[in-house]
C-alpha cells in the first residue's frame, strides 16, 4: 500500500479517480478540535495537561524522525542527539543568556538542527547497517560530552536552574505551555506535510522505494538523504527544546541511545509509513510509561511486549491497521 499517497492528495479536478480525501480532512478537523479543547476535558478521562504536552512533544520528535525513517528509508539510531542538543540549547540559553523563552527555543532548535545538518552527510556516506552504526556513534558522542562537561551541563545530574519565562507577559502555566507546544507541534506537522507533498518529499519517498532507479535518473541520492536527515534533525531538536520547557530540566538521558530507540519505537508502533503514525505511537508510549510506571518499574517490558505484538500482527502500525484502505 502506498502511504505517501494518503498524504499526497491530487487535485480534485484531475480526471483520474481521486482518493478518499474528505474522510482524512474530517479526521484532521476532529483531531484539531480534540487537541485544541484538550485542557477542558483531559481530567475527565483521567489524564492531565502535562501528560498531553509530553505526548505532543514525543509525537513531534517521532514525526521528525519518521521523515528520515518512514519516508526516506534511513534508519537512524542516533536522533536522541538532536533532541538532547535542542533541550540543552534551551536550558543553557535560559540559564545563562536570555529571559526569552522563544529565543531560547529558536537557539536550541538551530543548534540541534545544525548538528544534524553537519553530521548527516558523514553518516550518509555509508549504507544500511553502517549508516545506522555511525548514527549511534555520533549520538553517543554528545552523550559523553554532556556527562563529562560538568561545569557547563551539570554532568550526570543534568541541567537544572532554569525555568521557562512568560511570553509577552503571559505566564506559561500547564495550560498555556500546552498551547505553546500545540502551536509548535502544528507548525512542525505543517512543515513536514508541505515537504512531503512537494517534489522534495516525493524524492525522499522515491529514495526509500528504489535508490538505483533514482540514481539512473540523475539524482545524487546521498545528498537528498542528508537533506532529509537535516530537516528531521531540526524537527527533533525543536521537540527536545519543548521538552526542556516542559520539565524546566534536561539531562544526558535526553541524549542517550535509549531515547533514540524510544523514538524509533514510537514511529514504528504508530505506523512509520503513515504521516500521523508517530502521534498514535507517542500516545501509546507515553500513556504506558505514565500509568504502568506507577505500578512497576519495568514499564519498558510492557512497551516491549506491545511493540512485539504490534510488529508481528500489525506490521504497518496502529494507524496502518486502522487506515487500511482498499484500492481499485
Amino acid at each position: 500500500m502506498s502511504d505517501i499517497s494518503s498524504i499526497a492528495p491530487r487535485d480534485a479536478s484531475a480526471t483520474k479517480p481521486t482518493r478518499a480525501m474528505p474522510t482524512s480532512r474530517t479526521g484532521l478537523i476532529i483531531l484539531a478540535v480534540m487537541l485544541i479543547t484538550l485542557p477542558f476535558w483531559i481530567s475527565y478521562v483521567g489524564g492531565y495537561t502535562d501528560l498531553a504536552s509530553r505526548v505532543l512533544i514525543y509525537a513531534l520528535a517521532g514525526m521528525g524522525l519518521n521523515l528520515l525513517l518512514g519516508f526516506t528509508g534511513g534508519l537512524s539510531f542516533g536522533h536522541a542527539a538532536y533532541f538532547g542538543l535542542g533541550s540543552y540549547g534551551v536550558g543553557l540559553m535560559l540559564k545563562y543568556e536570555t529571559h526569552s523563552t522563544l529565543l531560547a527555543l529558536l537557539v536550541g532548535t538551530i543548534v540541534g538542527g545544525l548538528a544534524a545538518t553537519l553530521l548527516g552527510p558523514i553518516a550518509v556516506r555509508r549504507r544500511g547497517i553502517y549508516f545506522s552504526m555511525i548514527t549511534i556513534a555520533i549520538g553517543q558522542m554528545f552523550f559523553f560530552i554532556a556527562v563529562r562537561w560538568n561545569a557547563l551541563t551539570g554532568g550526570e545530574d543534568g541541567l537544572a536552574g532554569f525555568s521557562r519565562q512568560p511570553i509577552a507577559g503571559i505566564p506559561l502555566g500547564s495550560n498555556n505551555l500546552y498551547y505553546l507546544i500545540l502551536i509548535f507541534f502544528g507548525l512542525g506537522a505543517a512543515v513536514l506535510w508541505t515537504i512531503l507533498n512537494a517534489p522534495l518529499g516525493h524524492t525522499f519517498v522515491a529514495i526509500r522505494e528504489n535508490r538505483k532507479r533514482l540514481t539512473f535518473l540523475g539524482i545524487n541520492v546521498d545528498r537528498y538523504i542528508a537533506i532529509s536527515f537535516s530537516i528531521s534533525g531540526f524537527i527533533v531538536a525543536l521537540a527536545g527544546g519543548l521538552n526542556a520547557l516542559l520539565d524546566n530540566f534536561t539531562s544526558p538521558d535526553n541524549l542517550k541511545y535509549t531515547l533514540s530507540g524510544n523514538l524509533l519505537i514510537i514511529a514504528v508502533l504508530g505506523g512509520m509509513r503513515n504521516f500521523w503514525g508517530p502521534l498514535a505511537g507517542a500516545l501509546v508510549f507515553i500513556l504506558v510509561q505514565d500509568y504502568v510506571s506507577n505500578i512497576t518499574r519495568n514499564w519498558m517490558t510492557v512497551i516491549g511486549l506491545i511493540f512485539i505484538v504490534s510488529v508481528m500482527y500489525f506490521p504497518k502500525g496502529i494507524l496502518g491497521f486502522f487506515g487500511r484502505r482498499s484500492r481499485s
Binding site: S2, V205, E209, N210, K212, R213, N220
Partner: protein
C-alpha cells in the same frame, strides 16, 4: 551520423572477460537489437554505456564527445537513459506517483519543498503526457507493485522517457511477458523510435521480435562480437546460426 560509438571496448571482471574488443557504431535514429546467449555480455555492454562501470579498455563516444568513465548521473543529463533486466521502479507507489517523481526529476524540481498550484499543474500535465505516451493512463492509480510484470516494464519505460532520452537502452523489455503485453511493448518501442525519434538499443531473446522490429542487429557471443547486420543478413549468417540460433531452437 553516428550517435554512439564503441571503440575497441573490453571489460574484465578479474579473470572473466565479459567483453573483448567490441566496436559498435549506432546511427542517429536507429533501432538496434543486441542479441546473444546468456552470459554473452549484453547487460555488461549496457552497464558500460550507461556509466555503471567503466570499460577496462577502449573508448565510448556519444553525441560527439567522449563519455568513457563518465558517471551515470551526468550521462542521464546528456540523454542516455536505461531500463534494467530486473525491473527497477517504485513498487509501493502508484503508477501516477512513479511517473510524477520521474517528471519532477526531469524538470529539475527535486529540491522544491513547496508545491504551488502553477507548479502542480505543470507537473501534472507532464505526467499525463507520459501516461499517454506509454498508454498506461487507465492504471494511473494502481500500485505499481500490484501490476502485472508487463505493465511494470511499461511503467519503467515511462520513467525512462521522462528524461527525454536521446539514447534509450532497454534490457530485455519483453522478458517474461505474455503475447498481448509483448505486442504492446514492441508497438511502444517502434513508436518511440519512429514517432519520437529516439535512438534505441534493446536486448532481446525472442527472435521474432528482433527480426520484426530492429533496423539492425548486433550479435554477441561469449564477450565477442559475432556479427552485425540487418535481419536478413543475421538470419543467413552461418556463424550466428551455429552459435546462437541453433541453440535457441
Amino acid at each position: 551520423m553516428s550517435l554512439l560509438q564503441l571503440d575497441h571496448i573490453s571489460r574484465r571482471f578479474g579473470a572473466i572477460k565479459a567483453l573483448t574488443d567490441i566496436s559498435i557504431d549506432v546511427a542517429q535514429g536507429e533501432l538496434r537489437a543486441i542479441i546473444g546467449p546468456n552470459g554473452a555480455g549484453k547487460t555488461t555492454l549496457f552497464n558500460l554505456i550507461s556509466g555503471f562501470f567503466p570499460p577496462s579498455e577502449g573508448k565510448i563516444i556519444f553525441d560527439g564527445s567522449e563519455i568513457t568513465a563518465v558517471s551515470p548521473a551526468i550521462l542521464v543529463k546528456r540523454g542516455i537513459i536505461r531500463t534494467f533486466q530486473i525491473t527497477e521502479i517504485f513498487l509501493d507507489l502508484t503508477v501516477y506517483e512513479n511517473l510524477r517523481v520521474a517528471a519532477e526529476t526531469a524538470m529539475g524540481l527535486n529540491l522544491v519543498p513547496f508545491m504551488s498550484r502553477a507548479r502542480r499543474q505543470a507537473i501534472e500535465s507532464k505526467v499525463d503526457e507520459l501516461l499517454d505516451l506509454v498508454k498506461i493512463g487507465g492504471k494511473a492509480d494502481r500500485i505499481a507493485g500490484e501490476l502485472s510484470h508487463g505493465d511494470q516494464r511499461v511503467v519503467e519505460v515511462g520513467i525512462a522517457l521522462s528524461r527525454q532520452p536521446k539514447l534509450l537502452l532497454l534490457d530485455e523489455p519483453t522478458a517474461g511477458m505474455g503475447d498481448e503485453e509483448t505486442h504492446h511493448m514492441t508497438g511502444l518501442i517502434r513508436s518511440l523510435n519512429k514517432d519520437q525519434k529516439i535512438t534505441i538499443l534493446f536486448i532481446e531473446h525472442d527472435m521474432n521480435i528482433v527480426f520484426g522490429v530492429a533496423d539492425r542487429i548486433t550479435v554477441l557471443d561469449n564477450g565477442t562480437m559475432l556479427a552485425e547486420g540487418n535481419a536478413a543478413e543475421i538470419a543467413a549468417n552461418p556463424r550466428v546460426q551455429a552459435a546462437y540460433l541453433g541453440q535457441e531452437a
